[in-house]
């Protein structure tokens, strides 16, 4: 039978044999495996191509010094698995509790080998369809109007084997080292091959090109044995604790900053690497000069004739010769395998290492081609966590949900609740959801209101950038208005040059919540779905266009937004005002009173009490409510006889006021009194 199936997926097109799959995933790294997991769970026809013999080949080599900088927080004081993923940056999403990274490593910053082992387990325990030792070397399109996207993807591997897929998921990451070409760049060692043994650097003077985590990691490793280390890069150092972007320099790697600022000979320099030139002298020492000098020199003259900057400027900073120069400039996406017809274009500016994609993670050039994982980071580069496991595990799931809707008619998963659960469902999510927390400002929960605001539909972790396309992308209807629940940092709080520790940086009062600086939940309310135009015209650092109303839940030191008065109450008021209803809870006794004294009931009463699910409440609780003046105790009024109800001082109760207006149309009353 297996053979028959195999044969059926073989198809012959113009003499070439293709192996067909609905979904092809290139790369069995974290995002490729994550995508495979969701495809497998959904029972889809898919295959993952991996050029190496095992998953996670990037991690087999990198980081060179083997220490992952993604945290593995094993204890949070909570047992809530979803919440704990907020502090587990290495696990992939799965239903299998064995596949939690804390079961693999006790280190806060785990070893890269553990990651490799983890990925191997992930692929094998979940029985994912990975075809190893298959390097896709070429991807092209075949037009076909029958195909899902109007074309098939034709993939060719190193053995000229061809594959045909309806949808292509690119999870190749960014693995091509960035190289800068300048005169003398042949003397430069690359991060990918440089020795990791500190002994090899004993007594040497080292120049490092680049200022990312790999550069600092390399420096950190040899800091103790070198004469001194200098680092050159075009941009200033960006510290992740100042930018709250995990891709910037992490505190764990910044030992060199310490020694630089504490006058221990090491140093940082700013300059454009493109302007550099390196000259090797007879003793093998490397000198820094400028490309400018090289271009002007007499080519016939020897090395000594080359002008060095210090010849003119005798205090030039890098005048001392170096023993070694190491390039740590990061990586870029491999654009080489895609046929021109796929129009895989590099991004602009600092995103040029990534391919251009839409906020739906679909390629701008080719329909049906989705970019996953690190390579998809252009969506939230230097903003959120989409370039890292703890971020793209959620965006991969989001892409999978988009595909399920697009190709299989499976709408975005959602739950319908009665409106009384609105406050609760938001509070529950903002307190435990890890996807909202990790992919802040990128993924958002969407609440679609049902007719007459009696119920709502809850959609989790939808890419907020394609909000305008929500109806087509999810198969859900948004005709009665919607809420968008998202998490944000304060807009002006952090950045490369900001002092993020300034005094009084935290907001404590709910009424000033919009000025919160730390990550906090924000809820947008739209009476109708924003259009694409409105999405385009949104303010620069806004994830969404101007809403009809907005609510910030005040930042919380413990990220615990369950305080009844500071967090839940203002949220409820916001929701009430958007929906123009009363979302309070009532004891059965109050509902009884309303049932007899008003023609309409608050949602909590008609969705609960009237359906025979009233909240009777214990005696003690009712007494508390009476003491708070929120419930009237009618047993006490016995001796008050027939005094007017509001002569009852103090316990003025907004709830129980005006249940009934005595029938007194103006005239009727007057007639009655006059007669």
């Amino acid at each position: 039978l297996g053979l028959a199936l195999y044969a059926s997926s073989l198809c012959v097109v113009s003499g070439t044999t293709f192996l067909y799959h609905d979904y092809c995933v290139i790369g069995a790294g974290p995002s490729g495996l994550q995508a495979a997991y969701f495809l497998q769970r959904a029972g889809r026809d898919y295959v993952v191509f991996e050029r190496s013999h095992a998953p996670g080949s990037f991690f087999a080599l990198y980081p060179r010094h083997r220490k992952l900088i993604s945290i593995n927080k094993r204890y949070t004081g909570k047992s809530n698995g979803e919440f704990n993923l907020r502090h587990d940056w290495n696990s992939l999403l799965s239903h299998d509790r064995r596949l939690l990274f804390r079961r693999y490593s006790r280190d806060f910053f785990p070893d890269a080998d553990t990651m490799v082992r983890y990925l191997e387990d992930f692929a094998s325990l979940l029985k994912l369809q990975v075809q190893y030792n298959t390097a896709i070397v070429h991807v092209t399109l075949e037009r076909d109007r029958q195909a899902w996207n109007g074309h098939y993807f034709l993939l060719t591997d190193q053995d000229r084997q061809n594959y045909k897929c309806s949808s292509l998921l690119v999870a190749t990451g960014t693995w091509v080292p960035n190289v800068v070409n300048f005169p003398g760049s042949e003397y430069v060692e690359g991060y990918e091959t440089v020795s990791t043994n500190p002994e090899d650097f004993a007594g040497q003077t080292v120049l490092i090109l680049g200022r990312g985590n790999s550069a600092f990691e390399t420096a950190e490793n040899i800091l103790g044995v070198t004469n001194f280390i200098h680092m050159v890069s075009r941009s200033r150092v960006r510290l992740s604790w100042a930018t709250h972007y995990v891709g910037d320099l992490r505190a764990i790697n910044n030992g060199l900053l310490d020694t630089y600022q504490l006058k221990s000979l090491d140093g940082l320099l700013e300059g454009d690497l493109e302007d550099l030139a390196i000259i090797k002298d007879k003793k093998g020492k490397l000198h820094i000069t400028l490309r400018f000098y090289l271009e002007n020199r007499n080519t016939s003259a020897g090395i000594d004739s080359i002008t060095l900057p210090q010849d003119e400027l005798d205090n030039f900073a890098t005048r001392a010769p170096y023993d070694r120069i190491i390039r740590c400039l990061g990586w870029k996406f491999d654009f080489s395998i895609y046929n021109r017809s796929l129009r895989m274009m590099p991004g602009k500016g600092n995103k040029k290492k990534y391919p251009q994609i839409k906020p739906s993670y679909e390629s701008r050039g080719t329909r049906g081609l989705f970019v996953l994982g690190t390579a998809s980071h252009s969506v939230d580069f230097r903003k959120s966590a989409g370039g890292f496991i703890h971020g793209f595990r959620y965006t991969t799931r989001a892409v999978h949900r988009l595909l399920e809707n697009r190709h299989h008619g499976v709408p975005w998963p959602s739950t319908v609740y009665p409106i009384t659960q609105l406050t609760n469902s938001i509070i529950k999510r903002v307190n435990e959801a890890s996807g909202l927390y990790q992919m802040f400002s990128v993924l958002a929960d969407i609440i679609l209101l049902r007719d007459a605001a009696t119920a709502f539909e809850y959609l989790e972790e939808y890419p907020v950038g394609i909000l305008a396309e929500l109806e087509t992308q999810t198969g859900r209807k948004a005709t009665n208005g919607l809420f968008v629940v998202i998490m944000e940092y304060g807009r002006n709080f952090s950045g490369a040059d900001k002092d993020v520790f300034y005094y009084n940086r935290a907001v404590g009062e709910a009424q000033h919540a919009w000025q919160s600086n730390f990550l906090h939940p924000v809820i947008y309310y739209y009476k109708r779905l924003p259009t694409e135009r409105e999405m385009k015209l949104r303010p620069p650092d806004w994830p969404l266009p101007r809403p009809d109303a907005i609510h910030h839940i005040v930042e919380d030191f413990l990220t615990d937004w369950t305080a009844p008065n500071a967090h839940i109450l203002p949220l409820r008021r916001f929701l009430e005002n958007c929906l123009s209803t009363d979302l309070r809870n009532f004891f059965a006794e109050s509902c009884f009173l309303f049932a007899f004294t008003r023609q309409k009931l608050p949602p909590f009463c008609w969705q609960g009490y009237v359906r025979m699910q009233g909240l009777v409440g214990s005696e003690g609780l009712r007494r508390h409510a009476v003491e708070a003046g929120l419930l009237e105790d009618y047993t006490l009024t016995d001796f008050l006889g027939d005094r007017l109800p509001d002569s009852h001082e103090g316990s003025q109760d907004q709830l129980l006021r005006d249940h009934a207006i005595p029938v007194r149309p103006l005239q009727h009353l007057v007639n009655a009194k006059d007669e």
């Binding site: 919009w514 809403p547 007899f596 025979m612 007194r664 005239q667």
Partner: protein, 837 residues
């Protein structure tokens, strides 16, 4: 404010002008000193004077003399001169001669002695003025001691003139003086009546007279047409000072309703001049008569508090909504007239009275308005959810959770296998409603302590979201009962201790319970079998089936599944014997119903019914015929969607009423209404219902018809009629025919947000105006968010801390503590202050 003051000054000087029209003489000493001859010869006819005779040396009378001397100026305003007559030593005439005559003062008009006052009646200026005027205004101010006197005067005045009736606790007081001074001015216009008898005050309709303070009532006798009725009265609300009395009388003198045919902005009346608002009733030709009556009615209610004008819209071109029916003009300058749409006269009255209250507060404490503002906005942070507040107030109490097993992801499945039945409460430890249910659940655990075969447990979904999702728990709280890990039933009844306990108990017995023998079936109907339930009062439902009725039996079994836990259902398969059928005269398939506490067994034939129909039928049959309505059982009757005929009773209802009502309820099988009764002792919230219907507690028992689902009208059965089937039926006929007037109508109002939310959008725009936020949308189409309290001001203070925020930061260290650690540091700095406190 200053405008107001001016007006006061104006009216006061006006008063003085009317009162005296005597220019000040500027003499330092108004007390004349004359010899007897000079005095007596100088007395002019019609002119009053107060004389005091003295031999030069009489030290004991010195203080008395001083008071007389001091009152000279006040009396002069009323044309009364004060004279000290110096008796020559040898003089032994009438006034100078006798020793005790020297201890008195004498009031003359012309040369006629009107009254002599003992010196102790003239202890201060007030008493001097009061007593002197009292004596002079003998005709204008009648002094009465009995109610009969008062009524005689009142009757005599009817149709002729108005009466000012004043009560003072004693004569010679400041209030007495004020009344007399007013009488001096208005005595010819109104009849003044004075009393010191507190009993008279009681009889004037004042329920709780405070006899220690003086009161003044204006009696509108001039308009009185009915001689049998007392005159309408308007009490003066303020303290008795001359100014207030004057003001009150002026207001009483003003026309009741002013007809206006000009721009209301230009209208000015006495009321506005005196600092009171003016209410316009907007009228049209078509409704003029009715509007006029309305205006008069309102005017009577507001007499002394506001003026009422009738504004004819046909004559004035008003640029306001046609719907507007009332306008309010306040005396404050520059405040535009407010046009309103009001529904009943009470609203007009509260409108004015609340305004006055607000003003009073503002005048009373002219403190920081900012404080007030802050208070207002802070209402938003005050919890107004009774459940949330009750739970937070209870949070420090440790719950007795020992009886309830806390389950985790690891223990969940194994725990379900331990007992025959496991009840699991799924809750969230931060969610108030589920915490409220947890409290009831602990009480259930207490009730079921020692019960075998049932394990009570709980899962905190905040800790273990995985199980909750897997068990399909989407909202909190949820209770499920698991049977040995196989089947589970979700609880869908009231979240109360009793209901839960009974559900768990009833769930123990399979539903329907298959009864094997006729003895079991009989025992089941008697409530003795199964023994586990014998202590529970319940209605037993027994299905009787024969061989030929498998379809009905299946439907019955399915219905049993649905009703499991709520109803006890038994099933007896008869075979051919038909013993039960014969006994209860039914043919299978049939239902037998044995209500608890009643020996009767009712029988119902079953036809081809689906399980759903059967569920409906059983539920319907379980409803009482003339039930006592309670908080937990009301929803079952609400579902019938019929009007309610409720007998409210304080305690159990009388036998007679009970019998009559039962007759009524049983009368027709398919009643068009729910006849029930409510025991206020057991369901005290019923009092709240009655108060809402009648404003005050009516006398009980009381029969009320409430049309809950259509129109919401409330009718009260006439209390003079006795509650009998016949009377009720004929009353109901009248209701149907629309011949009765409803006592009240239930409000149709929607449930709107109780308070506004923080309008962060507006705050952001105010603080960062360059935000290109407003580009795509128009403002103002945001949902109704903020009242006028201007959150903008709030953000402005955040931008550059003003004193307010500084005060907040420094002054209230406690408030800074909320939320975050950096605040904790701020708090430490405040530590010293705290300890000082």
């Amino acid at each position: 404010m200053s405008a107001q003051k001016d007006r006061w000054v104006f009216s006061f000087s006006f008063l003085l002008f009317c009162a005296s029209s005597i220019p000040m003489r500027g003499s330092a000493r108004l007390l004349q000193e004359l010899s007897p001859q000079e005095y007596f010869s100088g007395l002019q006819a019609g002119r009053a004077s107060l004389a005091y005779f003295s031999h030069n040396v009489s030290p004991g009378a010195q203080p008395f003399l001083e008071q007389i001397e001091n009152s000279a100026e006040a009396l002069q305003d009323y044309g009364i001169s004060v004279v000290k007559v110096n008796c020559p030593k040898e003089d032994v005439s009438r006034y100078c001669g006798k020793e005790n005559a020297l201890r008195k003062a004498y009031l003359f008009r012309g040369n006629m002695l009107i009254r002599e006052f003992p010196t102790d009646a003239l202890f201060d200026v007030n008493s001097v003025v009061a007593n002197v005027l009292f004596a002079l205004l003998f005709n204008e101010v009648k002094y009465v001691e009995t109610l009969a006197d008062l009524q005689n005067i009142e009757n005599a005045l009817k149709g002729r003139s108005n009466m000012v009736f004043a009560y003072v606790p004693a004569t010679g007081t400041a209030e007495h003086r004020a009344v007399m001074e007013a009488a001096f001015v208005y005595g010819t216009v109104h009849q003044f009546v004075l009393t010191t008898e507190a009993t008279l005050l009681k009889d004037t309709g004042n329920n709780e007279p405070d006899v220690s303070s003086a009161r003044l009532l204006f009696c509108h006798c001039q308009r009185a047409t009915d001689l049998a009725q007392p005159c309408r009265r308007t009490a003066m609300g303020q303290a008795l000072t001359m100014l207030n009395i004057h003001r009150h009388l002026k207001l009483m003198g003003a026309p009741l309703v002013t007809e206006v045919a000009e721009d209301p902005e230009k209208v000015s009346t006495v009321h506005l001049q005196l600092g009171l608002p003016l209410v316009f009733i907007l009228s049209q030709k078509e409704t003029y008569e009715a509007d006029r009556r309305t205006a008069e009615f309102v005017a009577w209610q507001l007499l002394g508090k506001a003026g009422v004008a009738l504004l004819s819209r046909d004559l004035v071109d008003l640029n306001v909504l046609l719907r507007s029916n009332v306008a309010l003009k306040t005396p404050d300058e520059g405040v535009p007239i407010k046009y309103l749409v009001l529904e009943d006269t009470d609203e007009v009255i509260t409108l004015v009275e609340d305004k006055n209250k607000v003003k009073q507060i503002q005048e009373d404490e002219e403190e920081d308005e900012e404080d007030e503002d802050e208070k207002e906005t802070n209402n938003q942070d005050i919890q107004d959810d009774q459940v949330v507040e009750a739970v937070s107030r209870d949070k420090k109490r440790e719950l007795p959770l020992e009886q309830i097993l806390a389950l985790t992801e690891e223990t969940f499945h194994s725990a379900l296998l331990e007992a025959a039945r496991t009840a699991v409460l799924f809750y969230a430890s931060w969610e108030a409603v589920s915490l409220a249910v947890l409290r009831s659940y602990t009480e259930v655990a207490d009730h079921l302590k020692g019960a075998r075969g049932v394990l009570l447990s709980r899962v905190n979904c905040w800790d273990w979201p995985g199980i909750c999702t897997k068990e399909n728990v989407t909202q909190f709280p949820t209770i499920k009962i698991y049977e040995k890990g196989e089947r589970s039933v979700m609880y869908n009844g009231m979240w109360g201790t009793e209901e839960l306990t009974s559900f768990i108990m009833l769930s123990q017995v399979s539903c329907p319970l298959k009864l094997a023998t006729i003895e079991e079936a009989e025992g089941y109907l008697r409530g003795e079998f199964p023994s586990e339930l014998s202590s529970y009062h319940h209605t037993s439902v027994l299905g009787v089936f024969s061989t030929a009725t498998s379809e009905a039996r299946e439907a019955f079994e399915e219905a049993g599944n649905i009703l499991s836990g709520h109803v006890t259902m038994g099933m007896y398969f008869e075979g051919d014997a038909l013993a039960l059928s014969r006994k209860y005269a039914v043919s299978p398939p049939a239902l037998l119903l044995a209500r608890s506490r009643s020996r009767d067994v009712e029988s119902i034939a079953l036809s081809k019914q689906t399980a759903q129909d059967m569920v409906q039928m059983i539920r319907y049959e379980l409803l009482g015929i003339f039930p006592e309505i309670t908080v937990p059982n009301l929803p079952r009757y609400l579902q019938l969607r019929k009007p309610f005929l409720i007998l409210f009773s304080d305690g159990d209802i009388g036998q007679m009423e009970s019998k009559e009502m039962l007759k009524l309820a049983k009368g027709r099988p398919q009643q068009a209404f729910v006849a029930c009764w409510l025991n206020l002792k057991k369901t005290p919230v019923g009092r709240g219902v009655l108060k809402a219907y009648f404003a005050t507690m009516p006398s009980l028992p009381l029969l009320v018809w409430v049309n809950l689902h259509a129109g919401g009208q409330v009718f009260k059965f006439p209390s003079e009629q006795s509650i009998t089937e016949m009377n009720i039926l004929s009353w109901l006929e009248k209701l149907k025919a629309g011949l009765e007037i409803p006592s009240s109508t239930l409000s149709e109002e929607d449930w709107k947000p109780p308070l506004p939310a923080y309008d962060f959008l507006q705050m952001m725009e105010t603080a960062v105006p360059e935000l290109p936020l407003h580009t795509s949308h128009r403002r103002g189409d945001t949902p109704a968010q903020h009242p006028p309290e201007s959150p903008g001001g709030d953000t402005a203070t955040r931008e550059e801390p003003s004193q307010e925020t500084k005060a907040e930061k420094v002054g209230s260290p406690g408030r800074d503590l909320r939320g975050t650690a950096p605040r904790l540091a701020a708090r430490e700095k405040q530590g010293k202050r705290h300890s000082e406190l």
